[in-house]
């Protein structure tokens, strides 16, 4: 395992009277794939929200490459290189696939007011995104470029959200249920992509309920329940533990 690139210490978040995250700590190694598993309501998505700045922790510290993320707004955290997908599949359904991808591309000059008004037309930026994505194995999206994102199948939409994370040039991808509810063939493709992305040097953390998916791609596993981190370690260590198997895998 490489250096811990993303860490959280003693995180706590309470809302509506319930403790969603309870003294949770974690360390994600660079260029690894970590799976977070646990029952519904365990605090997994809340943890993602804390890391990406959509929620701020009541207590505790989150660091990316040893610089704190606490108090940083979500868009800034995204710019620093942490991308994410959402459990309820967020996308701009009324825009084409192409436009969703182009939206994700970072540092676009014509997204600023003056440049948009007076800059020269030409979507050179967009073409770079598309070429890169094709190289990275997202060629299957190319024929769908002009389709409205809302018209894609569920699996294709999930694939698109993964592509958006890449189009951002993100180093860390936080994927919330990347294969849940997806046709097995598409799920397999997505998982294969995750492995390839790790080879390319990215770090992935994903939440899943599908243990086969976890076994297939994860290096490390974190188990959460009732806001706490119950277990964390390498996949082989954690997944053979009897209590884990009984509680979560059956």
């Amino acid at each position: 395992m490489g250096e811990a690139i993303l860490t959280g210490s003693d995180l706590r978040k309470v809302f509506d009277g319930t403790v969603a995250v309870d003294d949770a700590s974690f360390a994600i190694g660079e260029k690894t794939i970590t799976a977070i598993i646990g029952p519904n309501g365990a605090g997994k998505t809340t943890l993602f929200n804390l890391i990406t700045g959509f929620l701020s922790p009541d207590r505790g510290d989150i660091r990316f490459r040893n610089k704190t993320l606490n108090g940083t707004p979500p868009h800034e955290i995204a710019r620093r290189g942490i991308s994410r997908t959402f459990q309820d599949l967020r996308l701009i359904r009324q825009m084409s696939v192409r436009d969703n991808l182009r939206l994700a591309y970072p540092n676009q000059k014509r997204e600023a007011f003056w440049r948009a008004l007076f800059g020269r037309k030409g979507e050179a930026e967009g073409r770079v995104v598309e070429a890169t994505l094709r190289l990275q194995g997202f060629g299957s999206l190319v024929p769908l470029y002009d389709e409205l994102a809302g018209n894609l199948s569920y699996g294709q939409q999930k694939f698109l959200t993964l592509a958006c994370c890449l189009a951002m040039g993100a180093e860390i991808l936080l994927l919330d249920e990347p294969v849940a509810g997806v046709h097995p063939d598409m799920a397999s493709q997505i998982l294969q992509h995750m492995l390839e992305l790790k080879e390319q040097g990215r770090t992935i953390v994903f939440i899943e309920h599908d243990i086969e998916a976890v076994r297939r791609v994860a290096d490390q596993v974190i188990v959460m329940d009732e806001g706490k981190v119950i277990a964390s370690g390498s996949k082989d260590e954690v997944l053979v533990r009897k209590e884990i198997i009984e509680a979560y895998l059956t």
């Binding site: 998505t45 929200n49 959509f54 929620l55 959402f86």
Partner: protein, 291 residues
């Protein structure tokens, strides 16, 4: 000076409380801002005027006007809001529709009755009875004597009767109410009837004191909206409390700031609450979009 302002504030506050209560009830059960409530309010006063013009005594015209206004409220629900709800319209669409209705109704009043001030008052303008350094006219006493028990009655109604409890349940948690199978269309219709009746009573009371114009509804609506937000959306006592707050703030404000800025104070209160405490005094926390 101060006692008089206090009395004036109390009078205005009672009227706004009635308007806000109706408006707030409707919001609680339907989750959108029924702007047309202001126009419905004005209709209450004008129907009374029409009845009186026609030769009816006020004792007959007033109840008829209240009934007529309630019927109007019900009509708006059945003809416009319910079909929109059935189509799954968002609260913004409902709000825009209600803006349209407001404009139509207010202009119909203006068309039929004219823009000049109409009165249903009889008798000369009296000086008012002295009370603690202030003066209060018999009509103004009536306003308070009617609104306070009426508000109390509504409160009892909400707590003790079956339909009142159901309304509160729907207001509290519309999702749950739907799941439990409460016939929400009926409840909503009833809310419109009740809310419109309250508005009519408020309009009639104020007209007995200060006459009526077609724009009166607009003004009452503004105060109603601020009252509901300040007092707490979804909280029934909150709406009444908010009304009182607005009335008081508006009149007591005159003590330090000149009368022309009376209304500005009220709107600044609105912005303050929206920015810092959108749930008002007594409302529940406003849910933000969940991630």
């Amino acid at each position: 000076m101060l006692p008089q302002l206090f009395v004036n504030g109390l009078i205005a506050g009672s009227i706004y409380a009635l308007v806000a209560l109706g408006f707030g009830l409707i919001y609680s059960t339907t989750r959108f801002f029924h702007f047309a409530h202001g126009a419905v309010y004005a209709v209450g006063a004008y129907l009374t005027y029409a009845g009186w013009l026609w030769g009816l005594s006020l004792y007959i015209a007033i109840p008829l006007a209240v009934i007529g206004t309630s019927a109007l409220g019900a009509l708006l629900d059945i003809a416009v809001y319910r079909p929109l709800r059935k189509k799954g319209a968002s609260s913004l669409i409902l709000l825009l529709a209600s803006l349209g209705l407001f404009i139509v109704i207010q202009n119909l009043i203006s068309l039929i009755f004219g823009d000049d001030t109409k009165t249903i008052r009889s008798g000369a303008v009296t000086e008012g009875l002295p009370i603690f350094d202030a003066r209060i006219t018999p009509i103004q006493i009536t306003i308070i004597a009617v609104s306070v028990p009426l508000l109390a009655l509504c409160s009892v109604f909400m707590r003790r009767t079956k339909i009142g409890k159901v309304m509160r349940a729907v207001a509290n948690d519309p999702e749950l109410a739907r799941v439990v199978g409460i016939e929400s269309d009926q409840i909503v219709l009833f809310t419109f009837v009740l809310g419109s009746a309250l508005a009519a009573i408020a309009a009639i009371l104020i007209s007995l004191d200060t006459d009526m114009t077609p724009m009166m509804g607009f003004y009452a609506l503004l105060m109603g909206v601020v009252a509901v937000i300040a007092g707490g959306v979804g909280s029934i006592p909150g709406s009444a409390l908010g009304g009182l707050l607005v009335g008081m703030a508006q009149h007591l404000g005159v003590w330090k700031i000149s009368t022309q800025w009376q209304d500005t104070i009220v709107f600044l209160i609105l912005i303050f609450f929206l920015l810092f405490r959108p749930q008002g005094f007594l409302g529940k926390a406003v849910k933000k979009v969940s991630v």
